[in-house]
Symmetry: C2
Subunit: 357 residues, 2 copies
């Protein structure tokens, strides 16, 4: 069997050392004669894990004072509801940027709680670019964006200046580049794309935004309660938090988010170059909005896609088929993916072009 | 280091074979050259895991037609809100039995959504028994019970005949005994006490109870959506579902829930016998309501508790200190705990009694 190169869109590739640490913790943890999986979350061993998982987020992203960091459950999809539940009172408005499937889902949930103003949308172009030049209404409670669109392969290279707090779903590009957290009101991210495994969600929130809506919030959906209890209001997803910690330890060892950005740029550049130069392939998105996490491309002759897909699979390239909304191919090249995997893909693309010249 | 006997109240002890399977899956799964942790949840490998995790629940508990089984996130604590969100309209009433801390939390959340009638409570006796002889109002939308009270060491040995659907939090005793699912409207259980690791919650629900409230339900809190999407409306907690599957495979191999019941009775009987016969110890709950999952006991002379705690720890008995609400000790003896661990505890109790006669 060839080495498998994992281009899965998520759950996605993780650092090998994190998976090895996870395997070890399943059997025995900290020399205590017990598996991490069967330890009380109130014991000092797991408390140290949670503390480190939180402090690594603060350190790596430079989270300023006045912000809280919590690990929750339910994925970004639960955040689509929790954000307006906590921030948007009935009769108030929130602004949303519509850049794809996940933005749409966020919009749908927000409408349950208040009014939604979609400031701009690239829907008519099948979301192949990030809208720009829109106006953010000053009376909005917040402005919601999706920083990277996993399905459509676009990414916000800049965040707009906003008169209201910006809320960002960073599920598929968090920890892939430096972010000025002070420019955001709330950042959330499902862990399973770039910072760990499925089963936990990171939330970074500016404390002074909370506690202002009049509705009663169920405890498990109330950010203030999770913050007050240090992500331990109820039993946290122990193993998922541990894997986030191990993944972030690796990010730090590698040089932090600046190093991740350099790594991502190098990988993305090499792959987009091949897409642009290889006569058989073409990218699907506006060049200036190209994602450095999810590289989407199709073939000039769609009838060749099946054959290319088979050759890629035979060469150990896993997870390449594109999402049905775009078709073609999608190479998800998250932090943990090595440059050699890009080279393997580029090599298959070149070989295929030669054979089909 | 002596063998560690794990009496943790939760996350609690798991079958060794499940932890070994988990460790292996962290490194490589199904011969695919990838870790389970980095595989798409939409791929056939994980779909097979989810299917088996669901079908084992149906098989082991004999779930009848007309019920759905889903794996969610957020723990039982999120169910405290989801149950009334889905079943209790504003102005309607639900009946609750108050048997301890978790029942109280469920009651608190339900009050956000409708009216709550507490039919009976053992609060005045520090929840050391299960109330009986109460009346369940016929106009209640449902009647909520906690089948086993992890903190106070009581367990419902029988479920009442009810004129309205019974909703049961079975977090700490599910799969420890046969249950006639047809007598329930909804059963939920956080996995981390008796059926897996922290990070997923099992819900079994009678389909015809759903879709009747008038309020809008956020997608992630709507049972109907999770059912329609086969627990994959969004990325499920992959590893937690896998560990539930592996744990339930073990339950089946051991002979199913009847075998688990026999095992639990034998373990509980042996430990309660020592508590009753040893002059230094006494149980904290009414005998007829004693839990076969969480055995709570204190010492006749409280000043000896610190010394006993130390001896227990030195003998490799982990997780024995009682919850602060009860004090003393709590031996959580979930499915995976072996009889030899009970014997180890009994032996330390006897030795301690001899030395302190």
């Amino acid at each position: 069997m060839p080495k498998i190169h994992n281009f899965s869109a998520g759950p996605g590739i993780l650092p090998r050392q994190a998976m090895e640490a996870g395997a070890k913790a399943c059997l025995e943890f900290n020399g205590k004669g017990l598996s991490l999986l069967e330890m009380s979350h109130r014991g000092k061993d797991f408390i140290a894990v949670m503390d480190q998982a939180v402090s690594l987020v603060k350190e790596l992203l430079g989270v300023p004072a006045g912000y809280s960091v919590v690990y929750l459950q339910g994925g970004a999809s639960l955040q689509f509801a929790m954000v307006p539940y906590n921030l948007l009172d009935e009769g108030e408005s929130a602004a949303y940027l519509d850049t794809g499937t996940w933005a749409n889902k966020a919009i749908k949930e927000a409408k349950i709680f208040g009014n939604v103003k979609v400031v701009a949308s690239s829907k008519d172009a099948n979301y192949n670019f990030i809208p720009k030049g829109y106006e953010i209404p000053k009376d909005a409670k917040y402005f919601h964006v999706t920083s990277n669109n996993t399905i459509f392969g676009t990414q916000m290279q800049h965040f707009p200046e906003s008169p209201v707090p910006v809320v960002a779903d960073m599920s598929s590009d968090i920890f892939s580049r430096p972010v000025d957290v002070s420019k955001f009101g709330l950042i959330y991210a499902g862990a399973q794309k770039n910072m760990g495994i499925a089963g936990t969600t990171l939330v970074i929130v500016r404390d002074d935004l909370l506690g202002k809506v009049k509705r009663k919030i169920p405890s498990m959906l109330d950010y203030k309660i999770h913050i007050a209890e240090g992500s331990m209001y109820n039993t946290p997803p122990v193993f998922a938090v541990y894997m986030a910690m191990e993944t972030l330890k690796w990010v730090k060892q590698m040089g932090g988010v600046s190093a991740m950005q350099k790594r991502a740029e190098e990988k993305a550049q090499r792959l987009y170059k091949e897409i642009d130069e290889n006569p058989l392939f073409k990218g699907t998105t506006a060049k200036e909005d190209r994602s450095r996490m999810n590289v989407t491309f199709v073939m000039e002759k769609p009838e060749l896609e099946e054959a290319f897909g088979k050759e890629a699979l035979a060469a150990g390239l896993s997870g390449l088929p594109g999402h049905r909304s775009v078709g073609g191919f999608r190479a998800s090249i998250y932090n943990a993916l090595e440059l050699e995997s890009i080279d393997a893909l580029v090599s298959v693309m070149r070989d295929f072009a030669k054979k089909n010249a």
